[in-house]
């Protein structure tokens, strides 16, 4: 709290702040003392090797896992006992890539997974969900293939189409903070570009995003701030504008080799690390 009140530039509370978050599974530290903050309207790139703890971090922010210690603040307020529905109510939406799609189910059932449009008594308003899905397919997903209808099972979709579905699902529910978990994995070049444009759209709409990837080039082109995670800790936090892709790449190499990064000649200007 003190950071917000002493710094006049940060008048508004950050949309998300993590303070000293730790999490271990069966004695193995997945995350250790992770702190960073994300200002409203910004895109934060989260990079790190496989096993660095990116996924665990995301699952904590979305309420799937609960941290062993540390605090999560949404818009400056500490939130305890976060669950997935609670996080969604706070405006956090996650694009889990295709891992969070149910393959054999239709498009509309996937779009409305976990929160269908219902009538009293829990009965589904199938017609409304089909209609909304149809609209989303035309407007947002850009599905032009005539064979796709709201009733098509996800099995029949290409990798890019699945990604589109997962992204549109997150966007449809008016999120303030959209988390994209390795959204470019397995996508073709043009599909990747589409996906990166989507992240730019989020920012243009005044919303915030966390963009996880291990490709620094993807992250660099869309983010305001880059957080490097290594072996469960924050190895560094870099304002994107002040670093070139080459610099960040060599930093990442250094981090991977030594487990840390010491800034040789310039100050970290962002107050990312508390």
């Amino acid at each position: 709290m003190t950071t917000a009140s002493t710094d006049p530039a940060a008048a508004a509370d950050p949309i998300l702040e993590l303070r000293h978050v730790s999490k271990s599974f069966g004695g193995v530290h997945a995350l250790h003392d992770v702190s960073f903050r994300l200002e409203a309207g910004q895109v934060l790139g989260l990079v790190g090797d496989n096993g660095a703890g990116k996924s665990t971090l995301i699952k904590i922010i979305t309420g799937y896992h609960q941290p062993d210690s540390g605090e999560l603040l949404f818009n400056g307020t500490v939130v305890n006992d976060l669950t997935v529905p609670k996080a969604r109510a706070l405006g956090v939406e996650t694009v889990y890539q295709e891992r969070a799609l149910a393959d054999q189910q239709s498009l509309w059932r996937n779009i409305f997974m976990g929160r269908p449009i219902t009538r009293p008594g829990g009965f589904l308003d199938v017609r409304a969900m089909r209609r909304v899905t149809k609209e989303l397919m035309g407007e947002s997903m850009g599905f032009t293939s005539a064979i796709l209808t709201p009733d098509t099972p996800v099995t029949g979709l290409s990798g890019g189409e699945r990604q589109g579905l997962a992204i549109v699902r997150a966007l449809h529910f008016e999120a303030d903070l959209i988390i994209l978990d390795e959204p470019t994995m397995g996508l073709s070049l043009s599909e990747t570009e589409k996906c990166l444009n989507f992240v730019r759209d989020i920012k243009a709409a005044g919303k915030s995003a966390i963009f996880i990837d291990h490709n620094i080039f993807h992250v660099h082109s869309v983010s305001d701030q880059i957080v490097i995670i290594d072996r469960g800790t924050v190895a560094g936090c870099f304002p994107t504008k002040q670093y070139s892709q080459e610099e960040l790449t060599s930093i990442m190499r250094q981090v991977a080799a030594t487990g840390g990064y010491n800034e040789p000649d310039r100050e970290l200007k962002s107050g990312g690390v508390l």
């Binding site: 889990y96 969070a100 009965f123 199938v126 009733d151």
Partner: protein, 337 residues
């Protein structure tokens, strides 16, 4: 999957060939199982017209098929959600212990009926406890409770059979095993509950969640679906259905015997899979299970009526099951592309 689509949007831009393909892929399982039933019926009718052109055999089917058919409905829901219940054939008998205990002391048939259904629900909840809280796969848990419930039944009634009292005139008795315009009430219940289960599975939040849980449990968790609650509800419903079926069985023969339901495990499972429900979860069909129950339940009497030796039954049984599930698998592979 196919049953989810009752009113497809008009596929305006589709070519005729494509739209028929989409239509086929949605309805293939249902069409397959329904034509299989018609084919078997046709063969039986040609070979044994005296039996199959009279209503008596259909009345008999309408009374006996629902006994395992009701359990098959519950199983369909569980299997869609990626679970299973092999204990229902024991719950079938155990529920009636409640009836015997309560009715014979209070002389109220209604209270006895409620006690039976409550025991069914408790049996389902007990299964669900081990599956969702202790975390043992449902297959393993319900193999255990199948023995446990049967044993408990035998212990509680000391292995004895009971003649039911006062069921004939009671409203509950007439509702469960009476006739409605000549139709056995067992069949009426089967139809009503099948429609109910269809709504639950395809037009209700619970069914939506069950499909996702069975399809991709990780996704269900990530998307905030109440996994445990949904699974518990489905186990309880299956228990209640089994107890209800057992009660109908007892009321029909005005007798309770602790071994009742013993042979129903495999026919009920066969009805579900012959119907086209996927053993891997995430996809099921209530219509398929309904028709599958009559296919499985109809074969035995048909074979006898046709004049074949009784021991051909199992060969034909097995043949039909293998053929049906193969056709489902092939159709699924071909049409999902």
């Amino acid at each position: 999957m196919t049953a989810t689509v009752e009113r497809a949007l008009p596929p305006k831009r589709l070519s005729r060939q494509r739209s028929s393909r989409v239509w086929l892929s949605r309805w293939a399982s249902q069409l397959g199982i329904t034509s299989a039933l018609l084919l078997v019926w046709l063969i039986f009718t040609i070979l044994a017209p005296n039996t199959f052109l009279h209503s008596r055999i259909y009345v008999s089917y309408a009374q006996t098929v629902p006994y395992f058919g009701l359990s098959a409905l519950g199983l369909t829901m569980l299997i869609v959600a990626g679970d299973i219940d092999l204990s229902f054939s024991s719950t079938f008998a155990m529920g009636m212990v409640g009836y015997i205990g309560v009715q014979h002391t209070t002389h109220s048939v209604t209270l006895g009926v409620l006690a039976t259904l409550a025991i069914g629900a408790a049996a389902g909840a007990f299964n669900a406890f081990f599956v969702t809280v202790i975390g043992i796969p449902a297959l393993v848990v319900t193999i255990g409770t199948q023995f446990f419930y049967r044993g408990l039944t035998l212990v509680m009634v000391n292995g004895k059979s009971y003649t039911l009292l006062e069921t004939d005139h009671a409203i509950a008795g007439r509702l469960l095993v009476g006739r409605w315009f000549g139709i056995p009430m067992q069949f009426v219940w089967f139809v009503v509950l099948a429609v109910l289960v269809w709504f639950l599975m395809y037009r209700h939040r619970i069914g939506q969640n069950a499909h996702v849980i069975g399809d991709n449990r990780q996704a269900a968790g990530l998307m905030g679906i109440p996994i445990r609650r949904t699974r518990v509800i489905l186990f309880i419903l299956t228990g209640v259905f089994a107890a209800l079926a057992g009660m109908m069985n007892s009321f029909q023969v005005v007798n309770f015997y602790p071994s009742q339901g013993d042979g129903y495990l495999l026919p009920a499972l066969a009805a579900v899979f012959v119907g086209g429900t996927s053993v891997f979860g995430g996809r099921g069909t209530v219509w398929g299970t309904f028709v599958g129950a009559f296919l499985i339940g109809g074969i035995e009497a048909g074979i006898v009526a046709v004049g074949m030796k009784d021991f051909y039954t199992q060969v034909i049984y097995g043949g039909i099951i293998l053929a049906a599930v193969s056709i489902h698998a092939l159709l699924q592979r071909k049409l999902s592309r």
